[in-house]
Protein backbone atom coordinates (compact mmCIF):
# COMPACT_ATOMS: atom_id res chain seq x y z
CA UNK A 1 0.00 0.00 0.00
CA UNK A 2 2.75 2.39 1.03
CA UNK A 3 4.73 1.69 -2.09
CA UNK A 4 1.64 2.18 -4.16
CA UNK A 5 1.06 5.55 -2.51
CA UNK A 6 4.66 6.54 -3.09
CA UNK A 7 4.38 5.71 -6.77
CA UNK A 8 1.13 7.58 -6.99
CA UNK A 9 2.69 10.51 -5.25
CA UNK A 10 5.64 10.67 -7.57
CA UNK A 11 3.32 10.41 -10.56
CA UNK A 12 1.35 13.34 -9.21
CA UNK A 13 4.51 15.31 -8.69
CA UNK A 14 5.59 14.63 -12.24
CA UNK A 15 2.26 15.70 -13.59
CA UNK A 16 2.27 18.87 -11.53
CA UNK A 17 5.82 19.80 -12.46
CA UNK A 18 4.89 19.13 -16.08
CA UNK A 19 2.35 21.96 -16.03
CA UNK A 20 2.98 24.92 -18.26
CA UNK A 21 2.85 27.74 -15.77
CA UNK A 22 6.46 28.60 -15.03
CA UNK A 23 5.74 30.60 -11.89
CA UNK A 24 2.86 29.19 -9.96
CA UNK A 25 1.10 31.92 -8.04
CA UNK A 26 2.15 32.15 -4.43
CA UNK A 27 -0.17 30.49 -1.97
CA UNK A 28 -0.59 30.51 1.78
CA UNK A 29 -1.98 27.94 4.18
CA UNK A 30 -5.46 28.47 5.54
CA UNK A 31 -5.95 26.43 8.66
CA UNK A 32 -9.04 24.25 8.84
CA UNK A 33 -12.04 25.39 10.76
CA UNK A 34 -15.77 25.44 10.61
CA UNK A 35 -18.13 27.44 8.53
CA UNK A 36 -21.85 27.77 9.10
CA UNK A 37 -23.63 27.99 5.77
CA UNK A 38 -25.86 31.01 5.47
CA UNK A 39 -28.94 28.82 5.18
CA UNK A 40 -28.77 25.61 7.12
CA UNK A 41 -31.54 23.67 8.73
CA UNK A 42 -30.06 23.51 12.19
CA UNK A 43 -26.86 24.82 13.60
CA UNK A 44 -24.98 22.65 11.20
CA UNK A 45 -21.38 23.56 10.85
CA UNK A 46 -19.47 22.55 7.79
CA UNK A 47 -16.02 21.35 8.78
CA UNK A 48 -13.39 22.63 6.41
CA UNK A 49 -10.00 20.95 6.23
CA UNK A 50 -6.86 23.02 5.95
CA UNK A 51 -5.94 24.05 2.40
CA UNK A 52 -3.73 26.44 0.47
CA UNK A 53 -5.10 29.52 -1.23
CA UNK A 54 -3.68 31.86 -3.87
CA UNK A 55 -2.56 35.07 -2.20
CA UNK A 56 -3.99 37.16 -5.04
CA UNK A 57 -6.92 36.86 -7.41
CA UNK A 58 -5.89 35.71 -10.91
CA UNK A 59 -4.90 38.74 -13.01
CA UNK A 60 -5.36 39.57 -16.70
CA UNK A 61 -1.70 38.81 -17.38
CA UNK A 62 -1.91 35.49 -15.50
CA UNK A 63 -4.89 34.58 -17.62
CA UNK A 64 -3.15 35.63 -20.83
CA UNK A 65 -0.39 33.11 -20.14
CA UNK A 66 -3.05 30.42 -19.79
CA UNK A 67 -4.84 31.44 -22.98
CA UNK A 68 -1.57 31.36 -24.92
CA UNK A 69 -1.06 27.71 -24.09
CA UNK A 70 -4.78 26.89 -24.30
CA UNK A 71 -6.01 28.81 -27.37
CA UNK A 72 -9.39 27.10 -27.20
CA UNK A 73 -10.01 29.41 -24.25
CA UNK A 74 -9.19 32.59 -26.15
CA UNK A 75 -11.79 35.30 -26.50
CA UNK A 76 -12.72 34.35 -30.06
CA UNK A 77 -12.57 30.58 -29.69
CA UNK A 78 -14.25 29.82 -26.35
CA UNK A 79 -17.40 27.76 -26.94
CA UNK A 80 -20.58 29.68 -26.23
CA UNK A 81 -21.85 26.90 -23.98
CA UNK A 82 -18.85 27.54 -21.69
CA UNK A 83 -18.68 31.35 -21.81
CA UNK A 84 -21.24 33.94 -22.86
CA UNK A 85 -20.59 36.81 -25.23
CA UNK A 86 -19.10 39.03 -22.50
CA UNK A 87 -16.15 36.65 -22.10
CA UNK A 88 -12.94 38.72 -21.61
CA UNK A 89 -14.79 41.81 -22.77
CA UNK A 90 -12.07 44.03 -21.26
CA UNK A 91 -9.47 42.60 -23.67
CA UNK A 92 -8.85 44.22 -27.06
CA UNK A 93 -8.19 40.93 -28.83
CA UNK A 94 -7.32 37.30 -28.18
CA UNK A 95 -3.95 38.27 -26.74
CA UNK A 96 -3.94 41.94 -25.81
CA UNK A 97 -5.38 44.36 -23.33
CA UNK A 98 -4.62 47.82 -22.02
CA UNK A 99 -1.38 47.64 -19.99
CA UNK A 100 -3.15 49.43 -17.16
CA UNK A 101 -5.18 46.31 -16.36
CA UNK A 102 -2.33 43.78 -16.54
CA UNK A 103 -2.26 43.39 -12.77
CA UNK A 104 -5.98 43.87 -12.27
CA UNK A 105 -8.04 40.80 -11.47
CA UNK A 106 -9.30 39.06 -14.58
CA UNK A 107 -13.07 39.46 -14.80
CA UNK A 108 -15.72 38.66 -17.42
CA UNK A 109 -14.64 35.12 -16.91
CA UNK A 110 -16.98 32.12 -16.79
CA UNK A 111 -16.94 29.37 -14.18
CA UNK A 112 -15.85 26.88 -16.84
CA UNK A 113 -12.87 29.03 -17.80
CA UNK A 114 -11.92 29.67 -14.18
CA UNK A 115 -12.14 25.98 -13.37
CA UNK A 116 -9.99 25.03 -16.35
CA UNK A 117 -7.40 27.66 -15.43
CA UNK A 118 -7.04 26.26 -11.92
CA UNK A 119 -6.85 22.69 -13.24
CA UNK A 120 -3.99 23.69 -15.49
CA UNK A 121 -2.10 25.06 -12.49
CA UNK A 122 -2.60 21.77 -10.67
CA UNK A 123 -5.12 23.55 -8.47
CA UNK A 124 -8.89 23.87 -8.21
CA UNK A 125 -11.58 26.43 -7.48
CA UNK A 126 -12.34 26.84 -3.77
CA UNK A 127 -15.49 25.35 -2.29
CA UNK A 128 -17.83 28.04 -1.03
CA UNK A 129 -17.15 26.89 2.54
CA UNK A 130 -13.40 27.23 2.00
CA UNK A 131 -13.73 30.65 0.46
CA UNK A 132 -15.99 31.88 3.24
CA UNK A 133 -13.68 30.47 5.90
CA UNK A 134 -10.71 32.35 4.47
CA UNK A 135 -12.77 35.48 3.89
CA UNK A 136 -14.00 35.86 7.44
CA UNK A 137 -10.49 36.80 8.51
CA UNK A 138 -9.75 40.47 8.99
CA UNK A 139 -6.24 41.89 9.04
CA UNK A 140 -5.78 40.82 12.64
CA UNK A 141 -8.27 38.03 13.38
CA UNK A 142 -8.79 34.62 11.82
CA UNK A 143 -12.49 35.00 12.49
CA UNK A 144 -13.75 38.54 12.34
CA UNK A 145 -17.32 37.58 11.49
CA UNK A 146 -18.50 39.10 14.75
CA UNK A 147 -16.39 42.22 14.39
CA UNK A 148 -18.73 45.13 13.54
CA UNK A 149 -15.95 47.30 12.12
CA UNK A 150 -14.82 44.57 9.71
CA UNK A 151 -18.36 43.76 8.63
CA UNK A 152 -19.05 47.42 8.04
CA UNK A 153 -15.90 47.75 5.96
CA UNK A 154 -16.90 44.78 3.80
CA UNK A 155 -20.41 46.13 3.48
CA UNK A 156 -19.14 49.53 2.40
CA UNK A 157 -17.35 47.84 -0.46
CA UNK A 158 -20.21 45.65 -1.63
CA UNK A 159 -22.60 48.57 -1.71
CA UNK A 160 -20.26 50.70 -3.79
CA UNK A 161 -20.28 50.29 -7.59
CA UNK A 162 -17.08 48.81 -9.04
CA UNK A 163 -14.66 51.19 -10.72
CA UNK A 164 -14.59 50.95 -14.48
CA UNK A 165 -10.87 50.23 -14.36
CA UNK A 166 -10.31 47.74 -11.58
CA UNK A 167 -7.36 48.44 -9.27
CA UNK A 168 -4.40 46.03 -9.26
CA UNK A 169 -4.46 42.99 -7.02
CA UNK A 170 -2.89 43.46 -3.61
CA UNK A 171 -4.28 46.95 -3.16
CA UNK A 172 -7.00 46.32 -0.61
CA UNK A 173 -5.91 44.49 2.55
CA UNK A 174 -3.90 41.49 3.61
CA UNK A 175 -5.85 39.25 5.92
CA UNK A 176 -4.78 37.25 8.96
CA UNK A 177 -3.74 34.30 6.76
CA UNK A 178 -1.79 36.47 4.33
CA UNK A 179 -4.41 36.48 1.58
CA UNK A 180 -5.13 39.74 -0.25
CA UNK A 181 -8.31 41.18 -1.69
CA UNK A 182 -10.90 38.64 -0.55
CA UNK A 183 -13.17 41.63 -0.12
CA UNK A 184 -12.86 45.02 -1.68
CA UNK A 185 -11.89 44.21 -5.25
CA UNK A 186 -14.10 41.71 -7.11
CA UNK A 187 -16.55 38.90 -6.39
CA UNK A 188 -15.00 35.46 -6.83
CA UNK A 189 -16.25 32.20 -8.31
CA UNK A 190 -16.53 29.16 -6.08
CA UNK A 191 -16.54 25.55 -7.28
CA UNK A 192 -19.99 24.83 -5.85
CA UNK A 193 -21.62 28.22 -6.45
CA UNK A 194 -24.55 26.32 -7.94
CA UNK A 195 -25.43 24.83 -4.56
CA UNK A 196 -27.04 28.14 -3.61
CA UNK A 197 -30.58 27.04 -4.33
CA UNK A 198 -33.37 29.53 -4.37
CA UNK A 199 -37.08 28.85 -4.51
CA UNK A 200 -39.17 26.50 -6.53
CA UNK A 201 -36.76 23.61 -6.54
CA UNK A 202 -36.13 20.52 -4.50
CA UNK A 203 -39.76 19.90 -4.02
CA UNK A 204 -38.93 16.50 -2.69
CA UNK A 205 -37.27 18.13 0.26
CA UNK A 206 -39.20 20.46 2.47
CA UNK A 207 -36.13 21.89 4.12
CA UNK A 208 -35.69 24.36 1.37
CA UNK A 209 -38.51 26.55 0.22
CA UNK A 210 -39.59 27.78 3.63
CA UNK A 211 -36.09 28.77 4.62
CA UNK A 212 -35.52 30.89 1.58
CA UNK A 213 -38.38 33.31 1.42
CA UNK A 214 -37.79 36.86 2.32
CA UNK A 215 -38.61 37.41 6.00
CA UNK A 216 -38.51 33.76 6.97
CA UNK A 217 -35.28 33.40 5.09
CA UNK A 218 -33.42 36.07 6.92
CA UNK A 219 -34.46 34.75 10.31
CA UNK A 220 -33.62 31.19 9.34
CA UNK A 221 -30.19 32.30 8.31
CA UNK A 222 -27.36 31.95 10.77
CA UNK A 223 -25.74 35.27 10.22
CA UNK A 224 -28.43 37.91 10.05
CA UNK A 225 -26.15 40.83 10.77
CA UNK A 226 -23.74 40.01 8.02
CA UNK A 227 -25.52 41.64 5.09
CA UNK A 228 -22.53 41.15 2.82
CA UNK A 229 -22.89 37.40 3.16
CA UNK A 230 -26.46 37.69 1.87
CA UNK A 231 -25.15 39.61 -1.09
CA UNK A 232 -22.60 36.90 -1.85
CA UNK A 233 -25.33 34.26 -1.54
CA UNK A 234 -27.53 36.28 -3.90
CA UNK A 235 -24.66 36.69 -6.34
CA UNK A 236 -23.95 32.96 -6.36
CA UNK A 237 -27.57 31.99 -6.76
CA UNK A 238 -28.17 34.44 -9.59
CA UNK A 239 -25.31 33.53 -11.91
CA UNK A 240 -24.97 30.64 -14.30
CA UNK A 241 -21.67 28.95 -15.01
CA UNK A 242 -21.26 30.47 -18.46
CA UNK A 243 -21.99 34.02 -17.29
CA UNK A 244 -19.16 36.51 -17.62
CA UNK A 245 -19.64 39.41 -15.26
CA UNK A 246 -17.65 42.64 -15.07
CA UNK A 247 -16.84 42.36 -11.37
CA UNK A 248 -16.63 38.59 -10.94
CA UNK A 249 -13.16 37.03 -10.95
CA UNK A 250 -11.57 34.08 -9.18
CA UNK A 251 -8.54 32.59 -7.46
CA UNK A 252 -7.45 28.97 -6.98
CA UNK A 253 -6.76 26.71 -4.03
CA UNK A 254 -5.29 23.29 -3.50
Amino acid sequence: MKIFLLILNSLLLISVSGQVNPQPAAMVKIRGGSYIPLYSKDIQKTEVKGFEMDIYPVTNSDFLAFVKSNPEWSKSKAKSIFADSSYLKQWNSDDSFNKKIAKSPVVNISWFAAKKYCECQGKRLPETAEWELAAKASETKADASKDPAFNQWVLNWVTKPSLSTLPSVGTTYKNFFGVYDLHGLVWEWTYDFNSALTTGESRGNTSLDNTLFCGGGSFASKDINNYASFMRFAMRSSVKAKYCVANLGFRCVK
Binding site: E72, K79, F112, C120, S202, R203, G204, N205, S237
Partner: protein, 212 residues
Protein backbone atom coordinates in the same frame (compact mmCIF):
# COMPACT_ATOMS: atom_id res chain seq x y z
CA UNK B 1 -9.31 -9.27 24.74
CA UNK B 2 -12.29 -7.43 23.55
CA UNK B 3 -10.44 -4.20 23.74
CA UNK B 4 -7.81 -5.37 21.35
CA UNK B 5 -10.12 -7.17 19.07
CA UNK B 6 -12.62 -4.43 18.67
CA UNK B 7 -10.46 -1.78 17.10
CA UNK B 8 -8.91 -4.32 14.77
CA UNK B 9 -12.35 -5.38 13.70
CA UNK B 10 -13.35 -1.80 13.24
CA UNK B 11 -10.36 -1.00 11.14
CA UNK B 12 -10.89 -3.98 8.93
CA UNK B 13 -14.54 -3.16 8.54
CA UNK B 14 -13.68 0.40 7.68
CA UNK B 15 -11.11 -0.84 5.19
CA UNK B 16 -13.55 -3.23 3.60
CA UNK B 17 -16.20 -0.57 3.40
CA UNK B 18 -13.90 2.03 1.98
CA UNK B 19 -12.45 -0.42 -0.52
CA UNK B 20 -15.93 -1.44 -1.52
CA UNK B 21 -16.89 2.18 -1.85
CA UNK B 22 -13.94 2.83 -4.10
CA UNK B 23 -14.73 -0.12 -6.30
CA UNK B 24 -18.41 0.67 -6.43
CA UNK B 25 -18.41 4.40 -6.88
CA UNK B 26 -18.67 5.80 -10.32
CA UNK B 27 -15.62 7.94 -9.97
CA UNK B 28 -13.50 4.84 -10.29
CA UNK B 29 -15.21 3.60 -13.40
CA UNK B 30 -15.10 6.78 -15.34
CA UNK B 31 -11.78 8.10 -16.51
CA UNK B 32 -9.44 8.22 -13.55
CA UNK B 33 -6.18 9.11 -15.22
CA UNK B 34 -4.74 12.46 -14.24
CA UNK B 35 -6.21 15.02 -16.54
CA UNK B 36 -3.69 16.65 -18.78
CA UNK B 37 -5.85 19.66 -19.19
CA UNK B 38 -3.29 21.64 -21.04
CA UNK B 39 -2.93 19.18 -23.86
CA UNK B 40 -5.37 19.66 -26.66
CA UNK B 41 -8.25 17.28 -26.67
CA UNK B 42 -8.38 15.22 -29.79
CA UNK B 43 -12.10 15.14 -30.05
CA UNK B 44 -12.31 18.93 -30.37
CA UNK B 45 -11.02 18.41 -33.87
CA UNK B 46 -13.63 15.82 -34.71
CA UNK B 47 -16.44 18.01 -33.46
CA UNK B 48 -15.41 21.03 -35.43
CA UNK B 49 -18.75 21.55 -37.06
CA UNK B 50 -20.59 21.19 -33.73
CA UNK B 51 -22.51 24.23 -32.51
CA UNK B 52 -20.84 26.16 -29.70
CA UNK B 53 -24.08 25.67 -27.77
CA UNK B 54 -23.89 21.89 -27.93
CA UNK B 55 -23.68 19.84 -24.76
CA UNK B 56 -21.49 17.48 -26.77
CA UNK B 57 -18.62 19.96 -26.43
CA UNK B 58 -18.11 18.40 -23.00
CA UNK B 59 -15.25 15.94 -23.23
CA UNK B 60 -15.88 14.01 -20.00
CA UNK B 61 -16.11 10.23 -19.92
CA UNK B 62 -19.20 8.54 -18.49
CA UNK B 63 -20.04 5.00 -17.43
CA UNK B 64 -23.39 3.44 -18.29
CA UNK B 65 -25.54 1.00 -16.35
CA UNK B 66 -23.90 -1.70 -18.47
CA UNK B 67 -20.48 -0.49 -17.26
CA UNK B 68 -19.58 0.76 -20.72
CA UNK B 69 -17.58 3.97 -21.01
CA UNK B 70 -18.68 6.65 -23.42
CA UNK B 71 -18.51 10.36 -24.18
CA UNK B 72 -21.68 12.36 -24.42
CA UNK B 73 -21.36 12.76 -28.19
CA UNK B 74 -22.24 9.06 -28.32
CA UNK B 75 -25.84 10.34 -28.25
CA UNK B 76 -25.40 12.61 -31.22
CA UNK B 77 -28.03 12.34 -33.99
CA UNK B 78 -30.75 11.31 -31.53
CA UNK B 79 -33.27 13.57 -29.87
CA UNK B 80 -32.40 13.22 -26.18
CA UNK B 81 -34.78 13.55 -23.25
CA UNK B 82 -32.51 14.05 -20.26
CA UNK B 83 -32.63 14.62 -16.52
CA UNK B 84 -30.23 14.57 -13.60
CA UNK B 85 -31.13 12.19 -10.79
CA UNK B 86 -29.54 10.05 -8.07
CA UNK B 87 -30.59 6.52 -7.31
CA UNK B 88 -30.94 6.96 -3.55
CA UNK B 89 -33.44 9.72 -4.20
CA UNK B 90 -36.82 8.79 -2.78
CA UNK B 91 -39.31 11.36 -3.90
CA UNK B 92 -38.25 13.80 -6.56
CA UNK B 93 -36.29 11.58 -8.94
CA UNK B 94 -38.91 8.84 -9.35
CA UNK B 95 -41.36 11.62 -10.24
CA UNK B 96 -39.02 13.05 -12.84
CA UNK B 97 -38.59 9.58 -14.30
CA UNK B 98 -42.36 9.09 -14.28
CA UNK B 99 -42.77 12.37 -16.14
CA UNK B 100 -40.21 11.23 -18.71
CA UNK B 101 -42.09 7.95 -19.09
CA UNK B 102 -45.25 9.95 -19.73
CA UNK B 103 -43.46 11.74 -22.51
CA UNK B 104 -42.30 8.38 -23.86
CA UNK B 105 -45.80 6.96 -23.88
CA UNK B 106 -47.22 10.04 -25.58
CA UNK B 107 -44.91 9.54 -28.55
CA UNK B 108 -45.86 7.40 -31.52
CA UNK B 109 -43.84 4.32 -32.39
CA UNK B 110 -42.22 6.19 -35.27
CA UNK B 111 -41.36 9.17 -33.12
CA UNK B 112 -39.89 6.97 -30.42
CA UNK B 113 -37.35 5.60 -32.86
CA UNK B 114 -35.73 9.01 -33.09
CA UNK B 115 -35.76 9.70 -29.38
CA UNK B 116 -33.62 8.37 -26.54
CA UNK B 117 -33.83 8.84 -22.80
CA UNK B 118 -30.85 9.69 -20.63
CA UNK B 119 -30.58 9.84 -16.84
CA UNK B 120 -27.44 11.48 -15.50
CA UNK B 121 -26.38 10.69 -11.95
CA UNK B 122 -25.58 13.65 -9.71
CA UNK B 123 -24.15 11.28 -7.08
CA UNK B 124 -20.75 10.02 -8.28
CA UNK B 125 -19.86 8.74 -4.80
CA UNK B 126 -22.74 6.34 -4.38
CA UNK B 127 -24.02 5.58 -7.85
CA UNK B 128 -22.38 2.81 -9.80
CA UNK B 129 -23.31 0.76 -12.85
CA UNK B 130 -24.96 -1.84 -10.64
CA UNK B 131 -26.96 0.80 -8.75
CA UNK B 132 -28.01 2.28 -12.07
CA UNK B 133 -29.07 -1.13 -13.38
CA UNK B 134 -31.12 -1.68 -10.25
CA UNK B 135 -32.76 1.72 -10.65
CA UNK B 136 -33.55 0.95 -14.29
CA UNK B 137 -35.13 -2.36 -13.33
CA UNK B 138 -37.11 -0.83 -10.47
CA UNK B 139 -38.54 1.75 -12.81
CA UNK B 140 -39.05 -0.69 -15.69
CA UNK B 141 -36.92 1.36 -18.04
CA UNK B 142 -36.59 -0.19 -21.48
CA UNK B 143 -33.56 -0.48 -23.74
CA UNK B 144 -34.07 3.05 -25.02
CA UNK B 145 -32.96 4.45 -21.65
CA UNK B 146 -29.35 5.02 -20.70
CA UNK B 147 -28.22 5.81 -17.17
CA UNK B 148 -24.76 7.27 -16.71
CA UNK B 149 -22.44 8.41 -13.95
CA UNK B 150 -18.96 9.93 -13.86
CA UNK B 151 -16.50 11.79 -11.65
CA UNK B 152 -17.35 14.65 -9.32
CA UNK B 153 -15.85 17.15 -11.73
CA UNK B 154 -17.68 15.88 -14.79
CA UNK B 155 -20.90 15.81 -12.78
CA UNK B 156 -20.45 19.39 -11.62
CA UNK B 157 -19.66 20.45 -15.16
CA UNK B 158 -22.74 18.94 -16.73
CA UNK B 159 -24.94 20.26 -13.92
CA UNK B 160 -23.62 23.70 -14.76
CA UNK B 161 -24.10 23.22 -18.48
CA UNK B 162 -27.70 22.17 -17.88
CA UNK B 163 -28.31 24.86 -15.26
CA UNK B 164 -29.16 22.27 -12.62
CA UNK B 165 -28.45 23.37 -9.09
CA UNK B 166 -27.16 20.68 -6.79
CA UNK B 167 -26.62 21.02 -3.07
CA UNK B 168 -25.22 18.07 -1.19
CA UNK B 169 -26.93 17.43 2.13
CA UNK B 170 -25.52 16.04 5.35
CA UNK B 171 -27.49 12.81 4.95
CA UNK B 172 -25.81 12.08 1.62
CA UNK B 173 -28.79 13.22 -0.43
CA UNK B 174 -29.17 16.34 -2.52
CA UNK B 175 -31.36 19.36 -2.93
CA UNK B 176 -31.59 19.83 -6.64
CA UNK B 177 -33.49 21.41 -9.51
CA UNK B 178 -36.04 19.20 -11.21
CA UNK B 179 -35.65 19.76 -14.91
CA UNK B 180 -36.30 17.64 -17.99
CA UNK B 181 -34.11 18.79 -20.87
CA UNK B 182 -34.66 18.16 -24.56
CA UNK B 183 -31.49 18.10 -26.69
CA UNK B 184 -31.72 18.31 -30.44
CA UNK B 185 -29.72 15.96 -32.66
CA UNK B 186 -26.66 18.19 -32.22
CA UNK B 187 -26.89 18.31 -28.44
CA UNK B 188 -28.28 21.83 -28.19
CA UNK B 189 -30.82 22.26 -25.41
CA UNK B 190 -34.07 23.24 -27.07
CA UNK B 191 -36.48 22.88 -24.17
CA UNK B 192 -36.38 22.65 -20.39
CA UNK B 193 -39.42 21.53 -18.44
CA UNK B 194 -39.07 22.75 -14.89
CA UNK B 195 -40.88 21.08 -12.00
CA UNK B 196 -43.15 18.03 -11.84
CA UNK B 197 -46.34 17.06 -13.51
CA UNK B 198 -46.54 20.25 -15.49
CA UNK B 199 -48.35 20.29 -18.82
CA UNK B 200 -46.18 18.32 -21.17
CA UNK B 201 -47.61 19.79 -24.35
CA UNK B 202 -44.73 22.23 -24.66
CA UNK B 203 -42.12 19.52 -24.25
CA UNK B 204 -43.89 17.27 -26.75
CA UNK B 205 -44.19 20.12 -29.23
CA UNK B 206 -40.45 20.79 -28.85
CA UNK B 207 -39.69 17.11 -29.49
CA UNK B 208 -42.01 16.89 -32.48
CA UNK B 209 -40.42 19.91 -34.11
CA UNK B 210 -37.19 17.89 -34.23
CA UNK B 211 -38.71 14.71 -35.64
CA UNK B 212 -37.71 14.12 -39.21
Amino acid sequence: MCKIKKPVMKISIVLIISCAAIVMSCTKNAETKVKSCCSKEKHTEALKELSGESVYNLSSTWTTQKAENLKLNHFRDKIMITAMIFTHCESACPRIVADMQHIESALTENERQQVSFLLISMDPQRDSPSRLTEFAEDHKLNANWTLICSTQDATMEIANVLGVKVKKLENGGFDHSNIIHVFDQQGVIVNQQIGFAVEQEETLTAIRKLIK
